[in-house]
């Protein structure tokens, strides 16, 4: 579901499987624990292994963006699938969050 690696000030979180409302709360809790680490200045969501996502993913990422922005940090998403990318576009997510290839 969620694995991560921290290199210097960048925390890369890899989400796999399905991201919907039923799992969003536990992923959020886990993420918020991880980004408590003051060394984390940049949060990258690696979505390459994500098989399904609905609009629950938007809330999750925007929520983490707000937390990171509050302390001058940034958020990026990497490798969103075509459908996930469309959902992010619809929500204007890329105005807040950088899209990596």
């Amino acid at each position: 579901m969620l694995s991560y690696v921290r290199k210097k000030n960048t925390l890369t979180v890899r989400l796999t499987g399905e991201l919907d409302h039923s799992v969003a709360a536990s992923i959020r809790a886990e993420l918020d624990e991880l980004i408590l680490d003051p060394r984390v200045r940049r949060l990258v969501f690696d979505l390459d292994g994500l098989e399904f996502m609905d609009s629950s993913g938007i809330g999750l990422i925007i929520g983490r963006y707000k937390l990171m922005a509050r302390r001058g940090g940034t958020v990026a998403v990497a490798a969103p699938g075509r459908r996930v990318d469309r959902i992010f576009e619809m929500a204007g997510l890329y105005q807040l969050v950088e899209r990596l290839a």
């Binding site: 919907d20 959020r28 399904f52 609009s55 629950s56 809330g59 929520g63 619809m90 929500a91």
Partner: protein, 151 residues
């Protein structure tokens, strides 16, 4: 148009049934020979509608969600997601992008927008105190020969 296939499924308004509802609908549509893209579109829309029923219809409390799906011989799929929950007072407002009544839960308010974008049509009927029916419609263009002609 005559109905080729039809199913009804009632399940309790539990978050773990969101994935179940997506799987059921995707299995039900397989005889139409949909593309992976089409299946994913429908699964995403169903996920949004079922999540709305659970979170908003029943306020994450007790209740039953009904899924009623059918397809006709012209390849049009109709899926009703029905709850008998609190209902929506202002449907047009609720359908606006970014409208949400659950600020604290980090809901994006993009559910209806996502449904509209992945389906051909989304119709909402609702009455306060009686519940909500979301009707999702999409034509699944047959890739192979029409169903009726298959053995």
């Amino acid at each position: 148009m005559s109905i080729i296939n039809e199913m009804r499924l009632d399940f309790p308004a539990l978050a773990e049934n969101e994935a179940f509802a997506r799987m059921v609908v995707s299995g039900f549509l397989l005889p139409l020979n949909p593309t992976l893209e089409q299946l994913a579109d429908v699964k995403t829309a169903v996920s949004e509608a079922v999540t709305n029923a659970i979170i908003h219809g029943y306020g994450s409390g007790k209740g039953t969600v009904r899924l009623h799906a059918r397809y006709t011989d012209d390849g049009v799929v109709t899926i009703d997601v029905i709850d008998r929950g609190r209902g929506i007072a202002d449907i047009a407002h609720a359908r606006q992008p970014f409208f949400t009544t659950s600020e604290g839960e980090e809901r994006s308010g993009m559910g209806f927008t996502v449904m509209e974008s992945f389906m051909d049509a989304v119709d909402v009927r609702s009455a306060v105190g009686e519940g909500t029916t979301v009707r999702l419609t999409k034509r699944i263009d047959a890739r192979a020969e029409p169903l009726a002609r298959r053995a």
